[in-house]
Amino acid sequence: MKRRPQVVAIVLIAAIVTMAILGICIGSVRISVSAILQSLFRTEATRTISKNTVYIIRNLRLPRVLAAILSGAALALCGLVFQSVFRNPMADSYILGVSSGASFFVGLAFVTGISFAEFSLPLVAFLGAIGTTTLLFIISRRNASSMLLSGIALNYLLSALTTLTIYISNRQAESILFWTMGSLGNTSWSKVGIIASVLLVSSLVTYRYCDAMDLLLMDDSTAISSGLNVKSTRILLLAISSVVTATVVCFCGIIGFVGLMSPHFVRIIVGPKHKRLLPLSMLMGAAIMLFSDIVSRFIIAPSELPIGIVTSVLGAPVFLVLLRRRNRGK
């Protein structure tokens, strides 16, 4: 009775479009909706809007809004994959320390001065993310129930190490701090392009594994005897979500709880089937991220809060409620 995926999709898309327009409008320079339409669909600055406005829309606000949508969707995808692979609705790349792993490696790169070219950082972040995931996988292979705690422990360790890199490197401290709190402020079209292509490929591949992820939620014997190669599927899905996590962390820093919250909200509405859950979670992630971005720009305007703070403030209470519900269920 509660499963109407089309309705949920329409509501989410409407919310995303509305918030995207709002996200372009508000800021230190107020922009009208008609100005947005004009700057998007006309090649030259018209009489009614200045070149300056066109520049703000095209090169600052639009990429930022797109980055919010894409990174939100990406984080939701990662969260969902982690939750299925580890068979735990409380898993996500932030809680399990995968994001911290990526940011620690980025911090390490800053301190040691290994890489500074814009696009070598994704590689460093990726190594950190995949390294953490592998470690987590090895630790919890024998005993899946220890996974969440192992991840939390890893998260502490890697966060501490990241802080250490900030402490050591006086000069780059701010740059590293940026990664630990998350920001959509430094978005460019090239970054949006990279996140979009990574997300496109990974979501298409993940969508093909929706039935497999359904089976992963059952016990291993059921999944294997149904014809699923559990081990290789888990490894593949973890590799995908590590790539996606790394991409988001690299361009937007650590943004917590979006990955945890989005699939869970959607699961309450449409149930656990991944064919519905995956696309809707990604829409939900995009909506939450857009909302958080607007809040982060609005709340202490004209300056802005790091978006990671906003998502965590919104997300932590939800996580606590989740935890209570889960314990009561036992």
């Binding site: 089976l215 016990d219 014809g227 656990p272």
Partner: protein, 250 residues
């Protein structure tokens, strides 16, 4: 071409380098309802897990319809042998229909899926529960759901691990008779059972396991003797004839 749908040659193994199974050699012919019985820890469940490669062994140890299981992909194995476990997990609120549909995973979605799924649910007597969440049905109903899932996987061999342990007497008999019916239609049934009288009533063959070895294997009436039961389970029983059927009295 071998006559046996399952042949096991010298299988040793278990979990984490502890050998639960010690040199199991077993041939199961096509058709028939074979019980796997024995005391707790004898290796019954472990043995079944080798048959669909949840646990792996060396090449050429396990053959299904004459094919070395190690040369088959997981989906190919799933088209030959289905399995119903003893501990189905119910962490998510999938509907009964969604769980039954998982039995079609290996077939990558064929046109007749929906019909097969409905038929399987009907056979297991749970069609009326189709759209209920598995978290809101009883343990027995869930067991029947898992049975329907196994049936719609449509395999030559069905392996089941204690499928009647959560069921009321009526459903126990229903399930056992359904398995008999399936074996009559040419399927090979391998089923771990603890209820000795259920074995007497429905099974054509029995594998008695003790300490990871095959203690005895053959026709039910030859294997289920008071002496064998004493040696395997350590209990004294009497076998009496009642209404033309042998019944075990403890």
């Amino acid at each position: 071409m071998e006559n046996n749908v399952i042949s096991i040659h010298g299988l040793c193994g278990g979990y984490n380098e502890v050998n639960i199974l010690k040199d199991i050699t077993l041939m199961v012919a096509k058709g028939g309802f074979t019980a796997i019985a024995g005391p707790n820890g004898a290796g019954k469940s472990t043995l079944l897990k080798y048959l669909f490669k949840e646990l792996e062994t060396a090449d050429d140890v396990i053959r299904i319809i004459g094919i070395d299981i190690n040369t088959l992909k997981q989906k190919e194995i799933a088209k030959l042998i289905s399995f119903q476990g003893q501990f189905g997990q119910r962490t998510e609120d999938f509907t009964v229909r969604e769980v039954v549909a998982m039995g079609r995973f290996a077939y990558d979605g064929t046109a007749s899926d929906a019909e097969r799924i409905n038929k399987a649910m009907e056979k297991a007597g749970i069609l009326h529960l189709a759209d209920k969440a598995i978290t809101h049905i009883s343990g027995g109903e869930f067991q029947l759901t898992m049975l329907a899932r196994t049936i719609c996987q449509d395999t030559k061999i069905l392996a089941l691990d204690e499928p009647i342990n959560n069921l009321d007497p009526q459903h126990q008999l229903m399930l056992l008779d359904m398995l008999t019916e399936l074996s009559d239609s040419g399927k090979t049934i391998l089923c771990v059972l603890h209820d000795l009288n259920a074995i007497m009533r429905n099974c054509t063959n029995v594998v008695l396991l003790k300490d990871g070895k095959v203690f005895a294997y053959g026709k039910t009436k030859d294997i289920m003797t008071a002496q064998n039961i004493r040696e395997v389970y350590g209990i004294d029983v009497q076998i009496i004839e009642y209404n033309g059927r042998n019944v075990i009295v403890m």
